[in-house]
Subunit: 343 residues, 2 copies
DNA sequence: TTGAAAGCGCTACCAG
DNA sequence: CTGGTAGCGCTTTCAA
């Protein structure tokens, strides 16, 4: 492990100069710089992260986090918050503070306002679950150009200038669901699909992936109908009930987004629980119970904890250690949970 | 974030004294000690990990790792090694070195010899995939009593004095397999089980868990026969072939340990691939291929990467940060992989 | 029993 | 453009 001190000695300059060269700050005589660089390469120099972090304390770095408020219909974000909290504690010890605030679920202007507030308060980087709206995209671009890196979480907005995305690959998650149905249906099924809204990209991708995984089985696995519940449990209850009444031939349900509990209540009210194969997403408390009592056969999770913590790690690497994310998309794993491995 | 310096100032003593009190080293006037402790508690003092690690550099800490050599029949350990390597690099930067060596798979005396060598070379902590043999257990106890903490990996030896175990809960993994079969069989199956050896606890636990998960289904899911392959692919081929010939009613295979490839070759040689439901463990390269081509329906993994890295993290926490492991058993997750989410 | 000081590796600031 | 120095929080050693 080579150190700046060693390089300085070998190059016959001071550690300050080496620091300037290696971190491109200040100005250094090109020849000196070349020499330093050469020696650094020779010694295979890698900066010590601990020391770097420790020394950066007085820079008073601050991150902002804008998250969908989870008090609404989707407690999924509770698990994300847990991930944020854990990472925040770690960063606090490093002298980095994290300001987390919650935005309305369907109000872009509210998100923009929160972003502005965070910028005014002096954040150096931002993580956000962005609403897919031009105003939000524009604001992300504005921050990025200002030198404030932005990480999108859970939902991406491409071409917004964001530094990276952390979250599910929705097409893949849909494929996993399709593969799972193929297995548990024995290759023969009449499927009803319940989804938030086909206008939301994440949701339609989950449906598309599902279909893709079942190509070649289309003779025996039929999608009977796709209905929308707008992520609302009560609507979900209604549309599911109607769907099942309308199509008694349905033997499988694919719950492609939120509203899982409402849909299952409909299933139960028709005494169809354990008669239908049901696949869902995420592992919120109500879903866990439905897995445990056998109503839902399997659910596919997307590492909510990682979705909370990883964006902060990326910002830390980028701003403190000068390490850019290796990929612009960091996809979380899709974990299949059944009664026996859900905890 | 309170610091030692702050506490020292408030207590009117030097930082050295505070350090002595808070870390129980040297001797300190009881009254001074009490005062310091009080203030520390008041300020909610938590030591800064970065600073601690940085300062400990010159203690020249060294860990040993004894692992089953993966050149043998089970490339599972290749993934464990990857985890070890990654963590080792991180620790190297902290001034901690890791000496990893590989032991014969069935030779306890060889393991004991390697442990002795590592101790002689001055390790401060050890991680090991122990062979379940009294000599190894005794040596683990010896090291522990000498003040060298030992972490067991992948396989545990309880009551050996080891500090912690990192690895699968085999009973749970068996249950997960059982639950999975319940789902993909539609609740009706004649199962053949192929296992390394029922004399090996890990293996028999996987069978027991499997049975437990299927209790209540015993009318329709029948275990036809359990055969042993001693984790050898060629033996596995033979016994599987014999089993399937003997019991043409078998429609499902539970491959409870290694020898997955051999078993599947037998299935293919009888033209039964895709006619049998097959569940296996781990995700070694050959298994991946068999998942992709549809021979194996699902495989259950056990976070090999974590099994490699986590033991080193525990040793680091224990020896550098003075943090004891929260639990004596750290169980890895059982992840269900099918064609669509195996990568 | 205690204090003072040096050092882990890096950054930042002030002179020159 | 460069050197010197102080400091991040903790440990350790040497004196007192």
């Amino acid at each position: 492990m080579a150190t700046i001190k060693q390089i300085a000695n070998l190059a016959g300059v001071s550690r300050g100069t080496v620091d300037r060269v290696l971190n491109n700050r200040g100005t250094v005589n090109p020849e000196t710089a070349a020499k330093v660089r050469e020696i650094a390469a020779l010694l295979n120099y890698t900066p010590n992260k601990l020391a770097k972090t420790l020394a950066v304390k007085n820079r008073n770095i601050k991150f902002g986090y804008v998250l969908f408020s989870s008090t609404n219909e989707n407690p999924f974000f509770d698990d994300v918050v847990a991930g944020i909290k854990k990472k925040t504690n770690e960063l606090t010890e490093y002298g980095i503070s994290v300001d987390t605030c919650f935005s309305e679920l369907r109000d872009p202007s509210n998100q923009v306002k929160l972003m502005d507030q965070l910028v005014d308060s002096g954040i150096n980087g931002l993580a956000i679950t962005p609403i897919n709206h031009p105003d939000v995209a524009r604001k992300i671009k504005e921050l990025s150009e200002k030198g404030i890196p932005v990480i999108t979480v859970n939902t991406d907005i491409e071409n917004s200038g964001r530094l990276a995305y952390v979250g599910s690959n929705y097409l893949e998650s849909g494929k996993t669901a399709g593969g799972l149905l193929r297995l548990i249906s024995g290759g023969k099924a009449n499927v009803g699909i319940i989804v938030g809204s086909m206008d939301i990209l994440c949701h339609s991708e989950r449906v598309n992936g599902f279909k893709q995984a079942l190509e070649g089985y289309s003779r025996d696995i039929k999608i009977v109908e796709i209905v929308e519940n707008y992520d609302d449990d009560f609507l979900s209850f209604e549309v599911t009930k109607k769907l099942l009444n309308k199509h008694p031939e349905i033997d499988s349900l694919y719950l492609a987004s939120a509203g899982v509990y409402g849909a299952c209540r409909a299933v139960k009210s028709l005494n169809l629980d354990k008669k239908l194969k049901i696949i869902s997403f995420d592992s919120v408390p109500t879903t866990k119970l439905l897995i445990e009592d056998g109503t839902i056969d399997a659910t596919i999770t997307q590492q909510p904890h990682v979705q909370g913590s990883k964006p902060l790690s990326i910002l830390y690497d980028y701003l403190v250690l000068n390490i850019s994310p290796k990929n612009e998309k960091y996809y979380t794993n899709h974990e299949i949970k059944i009664r026996e491995n859900i905890n």
